[in-house]
């Protein structure tokens, strides 16, 4: 690793790096202060301060990690997948530094690293797992100089924040082009944009994908951006389509196609909103049967991706199997709480593909939604200010169900309107207060005691609902996880 640790790390072995120590001290003190004031988990402001004092903080700490840093990127599933990877590495005997509370901009990553490091600049672990935001990816890669990069998927998301997919692709490709063979890019070969983006890099590449006969889509969903061949510009053909634009793709006019897969997932068994089982095979030898307590096909991709990264990191198969069997879902992604005698399943929704997959999971067993459901839509910065994306979600598939659908949040009224145009009649549609606590109360009053209900919030709505549930004693606070 010596070649890449030129930015101050070499010096620090002999001389105390005062700038780094000062940055770390400020980050630590401010994080404690923020938590004491009850202003949240202190997961990003300390990073802003620390970065101002020492912009090389992440580079220096990352260079001192004996097993390097792993960067996890993708529109959907990055928090869950990063947590799976961290759990597997910990089971494999590593001390992991991880921006676990999901603050995935540069400042959040810096804050997490500062929190774990000693004031003398020792990183406090031997490997880093860094979940990164799509927009922050180029900076995080440049600063952390990772040994492994996971590219899990790239979907349409919050266009007001991230811009169009073409723009993100170009920036990612430029960031990856700077890496050499000391980095391995672990890529979802089923995603034609990512597979084509990682062709011909100096970095090594490891591919994964599905060969699955049960869980297929008949046609590209509305939420999928037209997948085209990078060389010919024509629309790709799919021999099998699994999720959004992920599948076994090929170009109808040239010889480009899904790359050969080094790790193949299949025989997926989806068990409602509870769990899944799947088989993961290597192209050259044996297979692993994995059982994981996360639901839905989208999580099968996350399990496969985490397994692929763990294998590149040299973790033994039996460790992977055991760690995934013990895995519990990430904060707010999907969790079950009992409150006022009702069982609530909360699932985060944040973009069209993610929402489609949650609906697919909730309706898979019964063919329609049968459990009362509250959809909570906010339009704050972290949710995306533009709620247009709701029109790309296939709510039409809820029209066959029987369950009442309630809406709340700053843009709950837009959500109710979306459901009306999806064919949900007056008999099932219940627009509730835009205030989340009031909306939650009115919703719960409509759910019979002892019954089940689904709650589908956007990011800040989830934070708010969770705060309400925490204050009322139903859920644990998240930064202690």
């Amino acid at each position: 690793m010596s070649g890449r640790s030129s930015t101050g790390a070499g010096n620090a072995r002999n001389w105390p790096d005062l700038r780094l120590s000062a940055a770390l001290a400020v980050a630590k003190v401010s994080a404690v202060g923020i938590r004491r004031l009850g202003r949240g988990g202190g997961t990003s402001a300390p990073g802003v301060l620390a970065n101002r004092i020492d912009p090389s903080l992440l580079t220096k700490l990352s260079a001192r990690l004996p097993s390097g840093a792993i960067v996890v990127a993708g529109t959907n599933g990055k928090t869950t997948t990063a947590r799976m990877i961290a759990d597997i590495l910990e089971s494999g005997g590593h001390a992991v530094i991880h921006n676990r509370s999901g603050s995935n901009l540069v400042r959040g990553v810096v804050a997490a690293f500062a929190d774990e490091a000693s004031l003398g600049g020792h990183p406090g672990g031997d490997v880093g797992v860094i979940e990164t935001d799509e927009a922050a990816f180029p900076d995080v890669v440049r600063l952390a100089r990772p040994r492994i990069i996971l590219l899990n998927n790239l979907f349409r998301d919050q266009l007001d924040r991230y811009g169009e997919l073409d723009t993100i692709s170009k920036r990612w490709r430029a960031a990856l082009a700077h890496l050499d063979e000391r980095t391995t890019v672990v890529v979802n070969g089923d995603d034609p944009a990512l597979a084509q983006m990682t062709e011909g890099l100096a970095a090594k590449r490891a591919t994964f994908g599905l060969n699955e006969t049960q869980h297929r889509l008949e046609a590209l969903p509305h939420a999928a951006d037209a997948a085209t061949c990078r060389a010919c510009g024509v629309d790709l053909h799919y021999d099998a389509l699994y999720l959004s634009h992920l599948g076994d793709w090929r170009c109808p006019s040239c010889d480009r196609a899904r790359p050969p897969l080094e790790l193949i997932g299949g025989e997926i068994e989806l068990r409602g909103v509870e769990s899944l089982a799947m088989t993961v095979r290597r192209a050259d030898d044996g297979a692993l049967r994995l059982e994981v307590g996360v639901p839905g096909l989208y999580n099968a991709y996350n399990v496969l991706a985490a397994t692929a990264v763990a294998r590149v990191a040299g973790i033994a198969d039996e460790t992977i199997v055991a760690a995934l069997a013990a895995f519990r879902s990430a904060f707010g992604r999907i969790e079950r709480v009992t409150y006022q005698g009702r069982t609530l399943t909360l699932a985060l929704v944040k973009n069209p593909v993610g929402f489609n997959e949650v609906l697919r999971m909730l309706t898979a067993a019964t063919g329609g939604l049968t459990v009362p459901t509250l959809i909570a839509i906010n339009d704050l910065y972290a949710d995306g200010r533009d709620v247009s994306w709701l029109w790309d979600v296939d709510f039409e598939l809820l029209a066959d169900g029987t369950a009442p659908l309630s809406t709340t949040g700053l843009r709950g009224a837009d959500m109710a309107n979306r459901l009306k145009y999806a064919g949900i009649g007056d008999d099932r549609l219940r627009p509730l207060s835009s205030d989340l606590a009031d909306g939650l109360d009115a919703f719960l009053a409509s759910v019979p005691e002892g019954g089940s209900a689904y709650v589908l919030p956007t990011y800040t709505a989830m934070l708010d609902l969770r705060r309400t549930l925490t204050e009322r004693g139903a859920v644990e606070t998240f930064w202690r996880q």
Binding site: E164, D166, W391, A413, R418, Y421, A422
Partner: protein
């Protein structure tokens, strides 16, 4: 389906290419508001190299990514674009948003590439601007207050022959300078408003449907609908617009 049932043919220009920002909601709004009145809607996608059907009542043309706009611009040159203009001159209605709006002007001038020719349905030109306008928008128009969400760096300037769709009360609009938003020509409307626009601005939706039906059937008056849900969405969006910009 009853043979005597009135029908509405919705022509969705480049639906699979120009479909970002949930603009598909506009097509859903046109189709549902027809269906709820006993009018049978048919949505026909008109893709690259597809001929333009003669009998479309309402066209919708949404926004796309840069690469797709180039292909669409090329596809509209010549007969297809001429036929689209002729349909509007003959009374067909049309809504275009963002990229679709720009390509119905004379041309779009990017920063560092050749100008993309439009078809000149609207007397306007657009050029790449230095900043991106992002946020909720409220516009005063002949349909009352319209509310949507803008997300564009292109600046649009109206010529002498263009009528603005309305005046911006909240937001930046066509170019951030003259307080105009969008353009109207006969029953064709172009603008930068996503949201999706039509579902929470039902007065405009019904104007487009009614114009299309009048061309097909002569006089046609739409029956009123219960728009309580739409009005609530409209009002909450206006409230957020005022609060966030």
């Amino acid at each position: 389906m009853n043979a005597a049932m009135p029908r509405l043919l919705i022509g969705w220009l480049y639906g699979t290419k120009m479909n970002i920002y949930g603009d598909r909601g506009n097509v859903l709004a046109l189709a549902q508001r027809a269906r709820w009145r006993g009018i049978e809607p048919e949505v026909r996608e008109i893709g690259l190299r597809d001929p333009l059907p003669d009998d479309v009542d309402v066209f919708f043309f949404g926004g796309g990514q840069d690469q797709e706009q180039v292909a669409v611009s090329r596809d509209l040159q010549g007969e297809k674009g001429e036929r689209l203009k002729a349909a509007v001159d003959d009374g067909a209605s049309l809504l275009s948003v963002c990229g679709g709006y720009q390509l119905l002007g004379h041309e779009y001038r990017p920063h560092a590439a050749d100008a993309l020719p439009g078809i000149g349905l609207f007397d306007l030109v657009s050029e790449a601007g230095p900043e991106r306008f992002i946020g909720n928008v409220v516009v005063e128009s002949q349909w009352g207050e319209l509310v949507g969400f803008e997300n564009h760096s292109g600046l649009t300037f109206l010529g002498e022959g263009a009528t603005p769709m309305g005046r911006v009360r909240v937001g930046r609009g066509n170019n951030g300078r003259d307080a105009t938003e969008g353009a109207i020509y006969r029953h064709a409307v172009g603008c930068y408003l996503h949201g999706a626009l039509l579902p929470k601005n039902p007065v405009l939706t019904d104007w487009l449907i009614e114009a299309g039906l009048r061309r097909r059937y002569g006089a046609y008056d739409l029956a009123p609908l219960d728009d309580a849900v739409e009005r609530a969405a409209h009002e909450s969006a206006v409230g957020r617009a005022v609060k966030t910009r």
